[in-house]
């Protein structure tokens, strides 16, 4: 039932707004609204009950194991939320003079510094509001860098075929042509193919390491050399930074620019799809191009750097300073961990993934890439099960929901047929991992004897499988009183 269907004409939430409506009749009628917006008219209790009940229809980290590959669904410490929502932060207007905003700016400056140290980059900007905006600013900086050197012909970005879809979408948004680089069966980039593709037209390469296939790119130094020798720059997609935090730094691998998904590695909440943060870090030569604003420290006080300070900047990405509430949560999380805690993140995320991968193999599943270390995630391919029992990765995913587990990422990376991309994260205990593997094995047995059980899943959730074709064909995107 929709909130609109709880509505009764004339019902008001009186104590939440001025009781009397002030007159606005001096405004010419033509500029005024003719009729009230058709919002629901409900009591506060009705709204509270409705949205509390809706929340209960969600799976979440706080309620279920959520091994969604490539998304790093780790515990979001409650204290990060409580402390980021202190009134001193919530009531800060974004245009407050810097001198009056020192507490907040100190947190942002410290966050920039810690990100530099953790990734081996020279400087960071916290402005990008999501991973995709981080990518956008990284690629825009690569463009600005080449143009500043008069190299206008560098109009091609190289991207491995295993990459996230945002990589090519971003490159095109920045005005580049995209060329795909094939991946070898062992998960490494095909370096011979890469060599064939570079030239004076090469602006850069976008790489995720460990890759979306869940393995570390072993030839990273050779790849960096090929790109740099051709005059290009190396972009690090930080989607999988959790796997290597404190173990190896993108800066030391030769990357010139990186974005870090703070909502993954640094545990800010996913919030049902955002807000995120795609803080972007650069090597020395790209510092002038960083997006605005950044925070600097001068004589024990902090201030925003603006276009006046940074004339070569690629510019602003939002009205103010990215998503400060998210940045505060990441800052608090990093202070919780400290330098010793960061290393443990990678160690235990990797331990959990490799343990589950070993268990998956022992229980008869086919690994997409065998005989290699898993990073913080690994891939099962269900192509044999699909062939033998006519069940798909989708069927496994839906049946897992019935058994109380959020499904892993399905059908990504696109290169692996019928795949489940599984990322447990470091914050899950062994019994959660074992429970999940038991469930997966149970489903495998069910597929052998009763595939219908999988096809019909889920049975225990608020709805069964939904008709996506109907949703796309008969678009119903909003409530209308007649519908």
């Amino acid at each position: 039932m929709l909130i609109f269907e709880h509505s009764s004409k004339g019902r008001k939430g009186a104590p939440q707004s001025p009781v009397e409506k002030a007159s606005i009749s001096v405004i010419p009628k033509i500029l005024l609204r003719k009729d009230s917006a058709a919002l629901p008219e409900v009591s506060e209790l009705q709204a509270v009950r409705h949205y509390t009940r809706l929340s209960q229809k969600n799976f979440s980290i706080d309620t279920e194991f959520y091994p969604l590959g490539s998304c790093t669904m780790k515990y979001n410490p409650r204290a990060c939320n409580t402390l980021a929502m202190l009134p001193g932060f919530l009531n800060a207007h974004p245009l407050t003079p810097d001198e009056q905003n020192q507490g907040f700016l100190a947190c942002m400056y410290d966050l920039q510094s810690m990100l530099c140290e953790a990734t081996g980059m020279a400087a960071f900007s916290l402005a990008p509001m999501a991973g995709a905006q981080g990518e956008f600013s990284g690629v825009a900086m690569i463009d600005a860098y080449h143009k500043s050197r008069g190299e206008h012909e560098r109009k091609e970005i190289l991207i491995p075929d295993a990459a996230h879809g945002t990589n090519p979408a971003t490159a095109v948004m920045c005005g580049f042509k995209v060329r795909e680089i094939p991946t070898l069966a062992n998960g490494d980039v095909d370096i011979d193919a890469l060599k064939q593709c570079v030239g004076p037209q090469t602006a850069g390469l976008m790489l995720t390491n460990p890759s979306t296939l869940g393995v570390f790119e072993r030839n990273i130094e050779a790849i960096a050399k090929v790109i740099h020798d051709a005059g290009g720059l190396l972009y690090y997609d930080g989607a999988n930074l959790n796997a290597i935090l404190g173990k190896i730094r993108p800066g030391d691998m030769g990357f010139d620019v990186i974005h870090s998904n703070l909502h993954k590695t640094f545990s800010t909440p996913h919030g049902g799809g955002g807000p995120g943060s795609g803080a972007v870090g650069v090597a020395e030569r790209l510092i002038p191009f960083l997006p605005l604003p950044t925070v600097t420290q001068e004589n024990d006080s902090y201030r925003y750097l603006t276009a006046k300070d940074c004339p070569q900047s690629i510019g602003r990405l939002s009205a103010f300073m990215g998503n400060p509430g998210v940045l505060l949560r990441a800052f608090i999380y990093m202070r919780f961990l400290g330098r010793e805690g960061m290393v443990r993140v990678a160690e235990f995320a990797t331990l959990n993934a490799n343990y589950m991968m070993a268990e998956a193999k022992r229980r008869g599943f086919t690994l997409a890439i065998d005989h290699r270390r898993a990073s913080h995630e690994f891939i099962i391919t269900l192509k044999n099960e699909a062939r033998d029992y006519h069940v798909s990765a989708m069927d496994f995913a839906k049946r897992l929901l019935d058994l109380g587990y959020h499904a892993p990422t399905t059908y990504f990376p696109l290169l692996v047929p019928e795949c489940l991309l599984i990322e447990p994260t470091e914050s899950e205990a062994k019994e959660a991992l074992d429970g999940f593997m038991d469930a997966l094995e149970q489903i495998l047995r069910e597929a052998e004897v009763n595939p219908e059980l999988l096809h019909a899943a889920p049975q225990t959730l608020p709805v069964k499988r939904l008709d996506e074709v109907r949703a796309a064909k008969q678009l119903d995107l909003k409530y209308t009183s007649s519908s």
Partner: protein, 127 residues
Amino acid sequence: MSEVPSELKYTESHEWLRVEDDGLVTVGVSDHAQELLGDLVFVELPEVATEFVAGDECCVVESVKAASDVYMPISGEIVEVNEALADEPEIINTSPYDSGWLFKIKPSAEELADLMDADAYQAIIDE
């Protein structure tokens, strides 16, 4: 097993072509292509009177999980589009070679001979 009518011409990107009596060429997507795409939910047709060169992207067919470009198989001008697809894109699924046609071209070059016949196309989709 998808259908590959022998009287049509084909491209590697899964378009089919039929030369009509009036010299116009009708274009659609093959049975094999519609099977790969699944239930179609939308077709973005080119505008009539637009001229394209062979290989241009001229049309998009969209299912729930994929959106696929249709490439102009030969150079020419669009003279008619299948308006019925606007409301019922699923016609492509049920009748890819007949009522599910996409558009008609007035060819501007002799390129038909370069295209594949049914046997060659069958060999490609069997791979």
